[in-house]
């Protein structure tokens, strides 16, 4: 009788332990996915920001002083002049936000390309973001309402660049954990906001 009782208690305790270990494994797997996503997103954001800010800082490179540098300035697009390949010929560089439909194959329904076009060449897509917003400031720090047009384009001295990058692949949650109005999946997110990006060529 004692031996049977011992066996039953052992099975019970062993079962509890097994459940505990399995639970820990689930937590490890879930957190590991989330952390990998976070790291990936942070790396993506920094790489993309370095690239875009680097080109924005060179706005007006090679232009004679006094010549208008920015040709068009919208909330999510900008077109400016610069000698991109340093060959003495001024190029027109355009950045614009693509539609979400271009990345409909990914799980994240909000991600979209940032397109980059040099002159009239076919555009490339150096970045994938979920948010991209540009704001323009004058020399005195006043915000110009977008889209900036006409003579106001010559008043732009600083650009505020805001970008958000999310993981294209989701960590799905059980339906019971989703609060109404929330998305049904978790996405790692990282945000960047450069509030006073100014080309050194604007300071001449």
């Amino acid at each position: 009788m004692t031996a049977v009782l011992d066996a039953l208690i052992s099975i019970l305790l062993g079962g509890m332990l097994l459940l505990n270990v399995l639970g820990a494994q689930d937590v490890v797997a879930e957190d590991s996915s989330m952390y990998q996503g976070d790291v990936l997103v942070q790396e993506m954001l920094i790489t993309q920001v370095q690239y875009i800010e680097g080109e924005f800082r060179n706005m007006g490179y090679g232009l004679p002083p006094g010549r208008q540098t920015i040709l068009a300035a919208g909330d999510s697009s900008i077109s400016f002049l610069t000698d991109i390949d340093r060959n003495g010929v001024i190029d027109t560089l355009t950045y614009s936000l693509g539609p979400t439909s271009e990345l409909s194959a990914t799980q994240n329904e909000m991600d979209r390309y940032i397109h980059r076009q040099v002159n009239s060449e076919p555009f490339t897509s150096p970045a994938v973001v979920t948010f991209f917003h540009l704001q323009y400031l004058t020399a005195t720090g006043d915000t110009l309402p977008g889209p900036v047009t006409g003579s106001d384009l010559s008043r732009i001295r600083e650009v505020e660049l805001s970008m958000e990058v999310q993981n294209p692949y989701a960590l799905y949650r059980p339906q019971g954990m989703v609060v109404p109005g929330e998305r049904n999946a978790l996405y790692s997110t990282s945000y960047w906001q450069q509030t006073r990006l100014a080309s050194q060529n604007f300071r001449r």
Binding site: V27, G141, S162, Q194
Partner: protein, 173 residues
């Protein structure tokens, strides 16, 4: 179950509990590190924004409104600091106005707040890592940026981001 078996079982429990505790602690630690990475990104966005601002300022009050090239640093401001009436970003006009200034900013896209403390010093022209107590043609802005909101958790440490830029006096003829 004999006493030996009971002790062995208790030992196994302790071992398993220790391992599980280690696993959970490790996960928590990784999470804190990654959260710290996001903190670092936001603090960097703020610090670089201030750097852009500082780069747009004149080298000194004496050079802000004058087109005459300095031939000696004696006419520069000492000690570095704002002139009367210069109380914030809207009124600062030269690099050393930032000395002693402190600003709190909410990072875009989040509710996190970061405070930045500014210190401006003259530096040795042969070694910009050395601050000096006399006027030179080089000034260094040191910034310390750290998160003030949300406050750190009980087991969380907040890093302070330190950034510096050096501005030198130049004049176009």
């Amino acid at each position: 179950m004999s006493t030996g078996q009971t002790l062995l079982t208790i030992g196994a429990f302790i071992l398993l509990t220790t391992i599980l505790h280690g696993v959970y602690s490790s996960i928590g630690s990784i999470g804190t590190d990654i959260s710290g990475g996001q903190d670092g990104i936001l603090a960097t966005t703020i610090a670089t924004s201030y750097i852009e601002y500082a780069n747009g300022l004149a080298f000194d009050q004496a050079t802000d409104t004058s087109d005459v090239a300095l031939t000696s640093p004696t006419s520069l401001t000492y000690p570095p600091g704002p002139e009367p009436g210069e109380t914030g970003f809207d009124s600062f006009n030269d690099f050393d106005d930032l000395n002693g200034f402190s600003d709190e900013k909410t990072a875009g896209g989040s509710a996190r707040k970061y405070r930045t403390l500014f210190t401006v010093s003259y530096v040795d022209s042969t070694d910009v890592s050395n601050t000096v107590t006399h006027k030179t043609y080089l000034k260094r802005l040191d910034m310390k940026t750290w998160r003030t909101f949300p406050a750190p958790g009980t087991d969380e440490f907040i890093d302070t981001l330190r950034t510096s830029i050096v501005m030198g006096y130049f004049h176009f003829f």
